[in-house]
Symmetry: C2
Subunit: 442 residues, 2 copies
């Protein structure tokens, strides 16, 4: 039997004794064409004497890194470059970056790249400032120990070069934990960047598929946070505010961010993917990734992200189109979006208005649509959107078949930190069906 | 000759070499019915041993203060109460609060009240932590020295009881500088509260006129920040990012906040004023004050606020309806809103679309309206709005006449920090006409 949000509340009362939500301060964000040319001055202002600049090997030769290095040189800032970040990092690649950071005494960290670089840099800063900590200490439970971070970290400036993760705004660092073949992460306000420098000219060099996949990440951050369990329905609600989770469910403030990001995606994403020179569209998507980052950083994401972690972690031989890397890969945005039609079809009965709302923003004509069809309509709208952007036809097209479903379900279970924000409760059978329904899209 | 935003940019190029804007982290905000009952735990979490609680005499007997004190007692938090805050504070009243704060060694500050209380508490914290500073050191230039704050302050928790100033989100403290009969303030990120606890039940005890006037403050924060000079038009643009002002002009992020706040005002403000028990409407306005606070905290306000400071400062005998105070007073929200029809009629030619947009959100039918009439339409819409909420009929009704205009103009000149964000440049003659046009509204 299915209860909608409203019904659940009227049957059980609110799960929380207290219906509250927070707008946690996000990172400071500076946005503008060319703003990364100022970073040398920012580092001087911070009194930096020995900067650790992290990036990945592909980016190390591209304009974003060049612009930052020039500004450092011009302002006489001393730095060392680590360009060995793995695209879609793992515990091993995190540890390599951490040992680089530990070997020297850096006083500021700078990350120039996509989510992979920014997340790696967050972890390097964290463990370099806690040299005695065990790697699993700060990793989310149940995989890690989920210990709170108590010491102070060095300032970290994040310069995102994709329009996707919003990692410049969040206190989250994601990696693939190889022993379990599943992604997990570190979540603490302490690792949130001090400043995000969002320079849209950096997105001009993004290959078409990186633009598409990181854009899907924005789309899912917006859709999932907008449909996440409302803040006044989540449970348990720890009585002491200090113990409340960062992901607190959808709320009137995160709704503003999520809806706004969704509007921008609807208006600009296709243009941004198709025309690498469309600066207006790419700039808009860059800003949308910030909006969606602040939105999901407060509200949380749910099933698409929870299920994406084993999809990325169990990759066999799929090589990602347009990615300049030497290992098999299902890029994060792709791993997230492939289940989205099935997921939102499943969650719609709990809050059909929001699903219809989202479908309408994405271009569907919902005037004649019944609430009962909200899920089907949003799913169709998403499939159409993916088809027009030439997305691989479902999980099968990235190398999975029905035999893999039990492993995918098993890998989703430990992602409770996010999946519990799904507006609809779900069993292992539900997850099985969601993966099965995502094998083929068109 | 009048150039619109677009024309100015195409004629002069952008004033800034760099078109950038920042979303500065606002305070952490916690919102929910009853959340102020948790404050004792927050103070324990902060390790507070000796709390300075500030409020005003009227509030000291009302439910918001009672709820907070109960929570402190329940959690065994030691505190002292200062309830001598002046409604619409002055340099003298700030100094009294400062000397109270200096006499003891407080480790956390708590402000329970409207903008008057929160601003006073910010100043008390600032100067108690800088015991050797002269009062004018941190006051905005040209009245004060505008020195940057370098030392660390104690944590400050703001519990707003009006739905108005958004002071719980900003690094601003406003007071009336009696020697000049004009309001000025202190603006520094250092005085921004650590946490804002926004408990909408606190607004239920607000008298009708306090609800109206503080709501007008929200309205003007939203309208002024939405129409403020765009971030890429302001000048000069200090090359070093550290020297850029907090008020940076309207930008795509502040626009989201401002427009959203305006929508809430349009939907709920009349209900909130008319029915003190309409918790939905009062809660919505309480949240709108936060939204508008974050919006104007980043973008700035302009002429209504700049001109309001001498309107409040030169008050003669006007006693504010519904305010339980023993001195003449033009409440802040009223002093701001009385010039709004004239101001937006004046600024409309620079960005008619935004003025029409605002008029439409506030209920005007703009389908047949020409761009050239944007100012007149928004002005009429505002006059109608004020009339329905039974606002005093212009500056004349609060005690001014034409002879006062030179003094009002003179008091506006030093408010350049805000007035320079007006989208339209203005002379002293322009200000004279704006005050004259605001003498009578209906
Ligand atoms: N921390 C968070 O809040 C968060 C949120 C979502 C996802 N993530 C994580 O972020 C990672 C994905 O990050 P991503 O999608 O930003 O991509 P990415 O960092 O993995 O980069 C993808 C590829 O694009 C290239 N690239 C990046 N910017 C480029 C540019 N401007 N020009 C040319 N090439 C460019 C990179 O070199 C790389 O080959 C995943 O590990 C994911 O789990 C983190
Ligand atoms: N710091 C900022 O960012 C900022 C912004 C705008 C205005 N301000 C300043 O804030 C001040 C105005 O603050 P305000 O409009 O919030 O009002 P206020 O603090 O001056 O309070 C007005 C009156 O309402 C009473 N009151 C407040 N809350 C009540 C409640 N819940 N129940 C019953 N009575 C209540 C007070 O006792 C007082 O008599 C002005 O000095 C203004 O310049 C500051
Ligand atoms: Fe993501
Ligand atoms: Fe104000």
């Amino acid at each position: 039997m299915l209860f909608s949000w409203q019904q659940r509340a009227s049957i059980h009362g609110s799960d929380c004794d207290l219906s509250c939500f927070c707008q946690m301060a996000s990172s400071n964000i500076r946005y503008g064409e060319g703003v990364s040319r100022e970073i040398g001055m920012d580092l001087q202002n911070l009194g930096a004497r020995n900067v650790c600049l992290m990036t990945d090997r592909n980016l190390s030769h591209l304009p974003p890194v060049k612009a930052v290095l020039e500004s450092l040189s011009k302002n006489g800032v001393k730095y060392k470059v680590y360009d060995n970040v793995r695209v879609e990092p793992t515990d091993t690649s995190f540890k390599e970056a951490i040992s680089f950071a530990k070997k020297d005494s850096f006083d500021v960290f700078v990350a120039v790249g996509g989510g992979s670089v920014i997340d790696t840099c967050k972890a390097a800063n964290l463990y370099a400032c806690h040299p005695d900590a065990d790697f699993l200490d700060f990793v989310n439970a149940p995989i890690g120990k989920g210990k709170p971070v108590t010491g102070a970290l060095k300032p970290l400036i994040a310069v995102p070069t994709t329009a996707g993760t919003g990692s410049e705004t969040t206190g989250v660092a994601i990696f693939d934990y190889e022993p379990l073949k599943a992604k997990t992460g570190i979540a603490s306000r302490a690792i949130r960047p001090t400043l995000g420098i969002v320079d849209p000219t950096h997105t001009l060099s993004m290959p078409e598929r990186v633009t598409a996949n990181s854009g899907f990440d924005v789309l899912c951050h917006a859709l999932e946070s907008y449909t996440a369990l409302p803040y006044n329905q989540r449970s348990p609600c720890p009585p002491n505010p200090i113990n409340r989770p960062a992901y607190q469910g959808s709320n009137p403030i995160s709704d503003v961010w999520s809806r706004h990001a969704l509007n921008v995606v609807a208006k600009y994403m296709k243009r941004a993917v198709r025309d690498p020179e469309d600066l207006e569209a790419r700039s808009s998507m860059h800003l949308a990734s910030v909006f969606a980052g602040i939105g999901f950083g407060n509200a949380g994401v749910h099933l698409c992200h929870g299920m994406s972690y084993p999809i990325a972690g169990n990759v066999k031989t799929h090589s990602a189109m347009g990615y300049n890397v030497d290992h098999p890969l299902v890029p994060h945005g792709l791993s997230v979006v492939l289940t989205s039609p099935a997921v939102f079809n499943f969650t719609a009965p709990m809050c059909p208005e929001r699903h219809l709302d989202a479908a309408e923003i994405l271009g569907a004509d919902i005037r004649q649509v019944k609430r009962a069809d909200a899920g089907a309509v949003l799913a169709d709208t998403l499939r159409q959107f993916l088809f027009e952007l030439q997305v691989e036809d479902g999980l099968r097209a990235v190398g999975y078949n029905d035999d893999d479903i039990p492993a995918l379900v098993k890998g989703t279970i430990p992602q409770e930190r996010v999946t519990k924000l799904s507006p609809r409760e779900h069993t292992e059978e539900d997850l099985t069906e969601l993966f099965a329904a995502s094998m083929k899209l068109y």
